[in-house]
C-alpha cells in the first residue's frame, strides 16, 4: 500500500490543485514547443517535483512515466571510479549530482555532453530535445555550475535543463541569467485543508474540519508533511474528531523535552543530560540544522520578549558554525550553553 503522498500525487497538469496560474504557465510553456531551461525553487513540500513531473508528461505524453534506474561509472582525472545512479526514461534523465560530492563536475561534464551530443532516438517523440532534471541544484559545487554555463547555451537544440533547488542563493548568477526562474510557493493553510478534505473523502474517512485546520497549521505549510500527519492520525485512531491529538514525530517530542530540560535548570550537569539526548537525535540521522531550528522555536515562546532577538542571533550564529564545521555536536551544545548563560544573566539582572 502506498502512502497517501504517493497515492494522490497529481499525475497531470489538470490535476494540480493550488497555484493555478503557475500550472497554466507551465502548460503553455510545454505546449509552445519553445521550452526554456527552468530553475524551479521553493521550500520543500511545496510541490516542485510534482509540477516538474506533470510538465514532463505534458511535454512528452505518458512515456515519461516508464522509468528505469541506470547505474553508471564515471572516472575522474585522478582515476577514481565513481558510481552514479541515473533515473531515466526514453525522453528524460534525472540526476542528483550532489551524491558524488566534490566530483559532481565530472558527472555534469561527461553526462550532459553525452546526452547533448546524441539526438532524440525516438522519431515519434513530440520534442526534439531531451530534458535533464537536476535535483538539489543548490548543492552543486561552483565548478559544476561553471561547467553548466556554456553547455546550456551550446547544446540548447538537443538539451533542456530543469534545475530543482530550495533556494537560489547558492546558484551562481550566470546560471540564473540563463534560466527561467519558477518560484513555487508553499501552499497556504487553506490550500492544505482543501487537499486534506479531498483526500479524506476519497479514502472514505470521516471529516473533521477542526483537525484538518490544526494539521495544516502544524505542518508549517508543507503539504507532504501535512499528508503524512493526516495519515498518521487516521492510522492511530479509529474515529477522529476535532479534538483528536496529533501525534508529533518522535524527534519533535524529544526536542520539546530538551527545551523543557534547558528551561528548568541552568547547570553543567543539565548540559550533560541534554548532551545525551542531542547525541540520540544525531544518531537517528536528524539533520543538525533541523534540531537547532526546532529547538530554537520551541524555546522562544518560553522566554521573555527582551531576550528573543538575542537568542535568534545566537541560534543563527551557531547554525552558520554547524554549516562550516564538521563536528555538529560541538555547536549544538555551544548553543545550549550560550542560551543558559543568556537566560541566567538576564534573571540575575546582570549584563555580561
Amino acid at each position: 500500500m502506498a502512502l497517501l503522498v504517493d497515492k494522490y500525487r497529481p499525475r497531470s497538469i489538470e490535476a494540480l490543485t493550488y497555484h493555478e496560474d503557475l500550472s497554466e504557465r507551465l502548460r503553455s510553456l510545454a505546449q509552445s514547443g519553445d521550452f526554456p531551461h527552468l530553475l524551479v525553487y521553493g521550500p520543500s513540500g511545496a510541490g516542485k517535483k510534482t509540477r516538474i513531473v506533470t510538465t514532463l508528461r505534458e511535454l512528452y505524453g505518458p512515456g515519461v512515466e516508464k522509468i528505469k534506474i541506470d547505474s553508471r561509472v564515471f572516472q575522474t582525472t585522478s582515476n577514481r571510479k565513481l558510481e552514479f545512479n541515473i533515473v531515466a526514461s526514453v525522453y528524460h534523465l534525472e540526476i542528483t549530482p550532489s551524491d558524488v560530492g566534490n566530483f559532481d563536475r565530472v558527472v555534469i561534464q561527461d553526462l550532459l555532453k553525452e546526452v547533448a551530443q546524441t539526438q532524440q532516438v525516438d522519431q515519434s517523440a513530440r520534442q526534439r530535445f531531451k530534458v535533464v532534471v537536476i535535483n538539489e541544484a543548490d548543492h552543486l559545487s561552483r565548478d559544476a555550475q561553471a561547467a553548466l554555463r556554456r553547455t546550456m547555451e551550446k547544446y540548447s537544440p538537443n538539451l533542456r535543463l530543469i534545475l530543482l533547488a530550495n533556494s537560489t542563493a547558492n546558484i551562481i548568477a550566470p546560471i540564473r541569467s540563463r534560466t527561467l526562474l519558477v518560484r513555487v510557493a508553499a501552499p497556504t493553510e487553506v490550500d492544505i485543508c482543501k487537499v486534506l478534505s479531498k483526500v479524506g473523502k476519497q479514502e472514505g474517512w470521516a471529516e473533521a474540519e477542526g483537525l484538518n485546520k490544526r494539521i495544516a497549521k502544524d505542518s508549517g505549510r508543507n503539504l507532504r508533511r501535512a499528508l503524512l500527519m493526516f495519515e498518521a492520525v487516521h492510522a492511530q485512531n479509529e474515529k477522529v474528531t476535532d479534538k483528536t491529538l496529533i501525534p508529533p514525530p518522535d524527534w519533535e517530542a524529544l526536542i520539546a523535552q530538551i527545551a523543557d530540560d534547558i528551561m528548568a535548570e541552568h547547570t553543567p550537569a543539565r548540559i550533560l543530560l541534554v548532551r545525551a539526548k542531542l547525541y540520540d537525535l544525531l544518531s537517528h540521522c536528524i539533520p543538525p540544522t533541523t534540531i537547532l531550528k526546532s529547538l530554537t522555536f520551541k524555546l522562544i515562546p518560553k522566554i521573555d520578549d527582551a531576550l528573543k532577538a538575542d537568542v535568534i542571533k545566537w541560534s543563527a550564529f551557531y547554525e552558520h558554525r554547524i554549516r562550516l564545521g564538521s563536528k555538529h555536536i560541538f555547536h549544538l551544545e555551544a548553543f545550549v550553553a550560550k542560551f543558559m548563560r543568556i537566560l541566567e544573566s538576564y534573571l540575575m539582572g546582570m549584563d555580561f
Binding site: 496560474d21 554555463r149 518560484r183 554549516r323
Partner: protein, 400 residues
C-alpha cells in the same frame, strides 16, 4: 599590409559613428527555437553595443593588421564573448573559422594536461592556406586565435603552463582570455595581454537594444517595461534579454494553448484576472503585452508591498510585539519561496536609501547585512538567518 582589410573604409566609418548601430535581422523561421541571446548575438564588431572605447581600440588594431594577446574582463552579460566571436568571424569568415579558432571554456576539461596538449598542439600547428579568392572577402591574417572563455575558473597551475606557450608561438597564435574577475588571472599572464575592460551597459544603449529586439520579435511592451527589464538585469544585457524572452513566451504562449484553455473554463478564469488579460481579450490578433509585473515575477523580484510589510513590522514599538510581527512576516516570506538573497538585496536598497536613518545607524545595519550575506553564501538556513537579520535591524532602529 593594410591590404588585408579591403573593408578598411567601412571600419573607419564605423569607428567614427560609434558602435551603437544594430542591424541584426536573421531569417526568422530557421532560428525560431534559438534563445534570443544567441539569435541576437552581434554578428560583427559594429553590432556590439555600448563598449565604444574597446571596439574603437580593437578596430584600430585590426587596421594595423596586428593583434596583441588580449584579456577581456568585466561583469557578466556585457558582451565579452560576443566581441571576440564577432572579431574572429570578421577576420576569418565562416570557412576558415573552424581551423583558425579554438574556443575553450569551463565546460571543457581545462586542467594543466589540456593546456599542455590541446592548447599547445593547436598553438604549434602551422597555418592552413585560405582557398583562392577567399582573401578578397575576409582578411584572414596569418595567425590563429585561442579563446579561453571563463579563464578565471582555470587553476593557477594551468595558467602558469600557458605563460611560455603564449610567448613561443606568438608568431602564429594569439590568445584571448575572457574573465569576470581580472584579479584571478595570475600576474605573468595579465602582463602579457593588453587589457580591455567591459563596463556594465548604460541605460540608453541597453534600452535601444531591447526595444530593437522586441520590435523584431513582435513583442508589445507595456510602457516602462523596458526600464523594469534593465533594472532587473542590473547591467547584464543577457539577463535582460532572457527575461524579455521568458516574459514574451509566457504571455505569447497563452495564445497557442487557447483552444484548449477554452475547454477548461475554470483555469481560464484564473488567467483572465491575471496579467494575461490583454492576451485573452484580443482573440486572433497575434501580439500580446508584456507587463511590468510579469517581468518582475520572472526575475524573482519580491513585490514592494511584501518588503514594505516586513519593514513596517521591524519598526520599533515595544520590543516584544516586534518579535511576533517580524517572525510572522519572515515565516510567510520563507514559505512563499522568495529567495533569501533577493530579500537581503531588496531590504538593503530600501534601508540604504531611507533618509530618516542616521549615518551611524546605517553603518551598523550594513555590517549586519555583510554578515548575513556571507552566511547565506555558506549555505546557512535561510529562515533563521533572515529572522536574525530582521531582528538585528529592528534592534538598531530602536537605538537612537
Amino acid at each position: 599590409m593594410a591590404t588585408y582589410f579591403d573593408n578598411k573604409a567601412r571600419a573607419a566609418a564605423s569607428a567614427t559613428n560609434g558602435a551603437s548601430s544594430s542591424k541584426v535581422a536573421p531569417p526568422k523561421d530557421i532560428q525560431n527555437l534559438q534563445p534570443w541571446v544567441e539569435k541576437y548575438r552581434p554578428k560583427s564588431l559594429d553590432d556590439v553595443t555600448a563598449q565604444d572605447h574597446t571596439i574603437t581600440v580593437l578596430q584600430r588594431t585590426l587596421q594595423a593588421t596586428n593583434l596583441p594577446h588580449m584579456l577581456f574582463y568585466g561583469p557578466p552579460g556585457t558582451g565579452k564573448t560576443s566581441t571576440i566571436l564577432a572579431l574572429a568571424k570578421e577576420l576569418y569568415g565562416p570557412e576558415m573559422f573552424r581551423t583558425r579558432v579554438l574556443e575553450l571554456n569551463a565546460s571543457d576539461e581545462r586542467g594543466i594536461s589540456i593546456v599542455r596538449e590541446k592548447v599547445k598542439d593547436f598553438a604549434r600547428m602551422q597555418l592552413s592556406n585560405p582557398p583562392p579568392h577567399y582573401k578578397d572577402r575576409y582578411p584572414c591574417p596569418p595567425y590563429k586565435i585561442v579563446i579561453l572563455d571563463e579563464a578565471d575558473s582555470m587553476t593557477q597551475d594551468a595558467q602558469s603552463a600557458l605563460r611560455r606557450t603564449m610567448e613561443t608561438y606568438s608568431k602564429i597564435t594569439r590568445f584571448c582570455l575572457i574573465c569576470n574577475y581580472v584579479t584571478r588571472i595570475i600576474d605573468p599572464l595579465a602582463s602579457r595581454c593588453s587589457k580591455f575592460r567591459f563596463k556594465p551597459l548604460d541605460q540608453g544603449n541597453a534600452k535601444k537594444r531591447l526595444e530593437d529586439i522586441a520590435e523584431n520579435e513582435n513583442v508589445k511592451l507595456e510602457a516602462g517595461a523596458v526600464d523594469t527589464l534593465i533594472k532587473c538585469g542590473e547591467g547584464d544585457l543577457r539577463k535582460a534579454i532572457t527575461f524579455l524572452q521568458s516574459a514574451a513566451r509566457l504571455v505569447g504562449a497563452v495564445k497557442v494553448s487557447q483552444p484548449k484553455a477554452n475547454g477548461h473554463s475554470r483555469k481560464r478564469k484564473v488567467i483572465e484576472d491575471d496579467e494575461d488579460e490583454d492576451a485573452m481579450d484580443v482573440d486572433g490578433v497575434d501580439d500580446t503585452m508584456v507587463t511590468i509585473r510579469s517581468i518582475e515575477e520572472i526575475a524573482g523580484v519580491i513585490p514592494n508591498d511584501v518588503v514594505d510589510g516586513l519593514l513596517k513590522a521591524m519598526q520599533p514599538s515595544s520590543r516584544g510585539a516586534v518579535y511576533e510581527a517580524v517572525a510572522k512576516q519572515v515565516t510567510d516570506l520563507v514559505a512563499d519561496g522568495w529567495s533569501a538573497t533577493q530579500v537581503v538585496t531588496q531590504l538593503y536598497q530600501k534601508i540604504v536609501y531611507d533618509d530618516t536613518l542616521s549615518n551611524k545607524q546605517k553603518t551598523k545595519i550594513v555590517m549586519a547585512f555583510s554578515d548575513v550575506d556571507k552566511r547565506l553564501v555558506d549555505g546557512s538556513d535561510e529562515h533563521l538567518t533572515i529572522l536574525d537579520l530582521a531582528l538585528q535591524i529592528s534592534g538598531m532602529l530602536a537605538e537612537t
